[in-house]
Symmetry: C2
Subunit: 152 residues, 2 copies
């Protein structure tokens, strides 16, 4: 494992903080902690997940702070909001482009890299007359673990 790989999440956090500085967004302890949690989290947490995860470190933090700062992060492009069928939004620290594969049984979300579907966007533009900016795609199924359990 390379040196850069070991320090990957550290660097990602550092880059994110730099972005905030350059954008003129203050780096408060709460913002630092939320960002850190997002970078290190391999899951795709909801606002409430983040709130609960940080209540040890910030017993007085308000849920509104979590929502406010997730909005700030989204606006400067550090974070993507994922809206699936379930009740609450999930938040994904933006690294490289990727899609998500979602287990319909246990809800697990796995990152999935695939070349951008430029052709789809081009055809959509041609057929609909839209100026296309981006697309989203999720792939649904059942993960290996849940498949095993089904067979028991």
């Amino acid at each position: 494992m390379s040196h850069t790989h070991v320090h990957e999440s550290h660097d990602q956090l550092k880059d994110a903080l730099d972005t905030l500085k350059q954008t003129g967004v203050r780096i408060t302890p709460q913002r630092h902690a939320i960002l850190e949690f997002l970078v290190e989290s391999m899951t795709h947490p909801t606002a409430d997940d983040i709130y609960k995860a940080l209540e040890g470190k910030f017993p007085n933090m308000s849920v509104a702070t979590v929502y406010n700062n997730l909005r700030v992060f989204r606006e400067v492009g550090l974070v993507k909001e994922l809206t699936y069928g379930d009740t609450s939004s999930r938040f994904d620290f933006v690294t490289t482009e990727h899609y998500h594969v979602i287990c319909e049984t246990c809800g697990k979300i796995v990152d999935f890299h695939y070349p951008g579907l430029d052709e789809v966007e081009q055809l959509a533009a041609h057929v609909t007359g839209f100026k296309i900016s981006h697309h989203r795609m999720e792939i649904y199924g059942t993960c290996a673990e849940c498949n095993h359990k089904d067979l028991h």
Copy 2:
């Protein structure tokens, strides 16, 4: 325009009612009206849209009835629930497979036919070990009208 095309939505409704009969779901006046509205609606209405659209015909219908029956329709596969970023779900009568192109300015949703992305599903299955069942994709941009307005 062909004879079949003229009667398309009529046939779709008939087929949907047949599906309900075969599944043993009672066809109540409310269910009939909700289905009819979904089939004929070119938009992708929210539960509240449906509720409002039918309150002339059913002044006493409860909003719970709309939700209940949309769930029933979803369970028998007649309707798809679309969860975008906005607050409420939209409901789409299931016909042929298609994707949606969404205007980020005015919210308009346009159907978009494209061959299924089987290759993506196959690669996802291979890489993640999931058993894939389906995928969803939305394409975002601005529609021709909104582009014009921007230039005024």
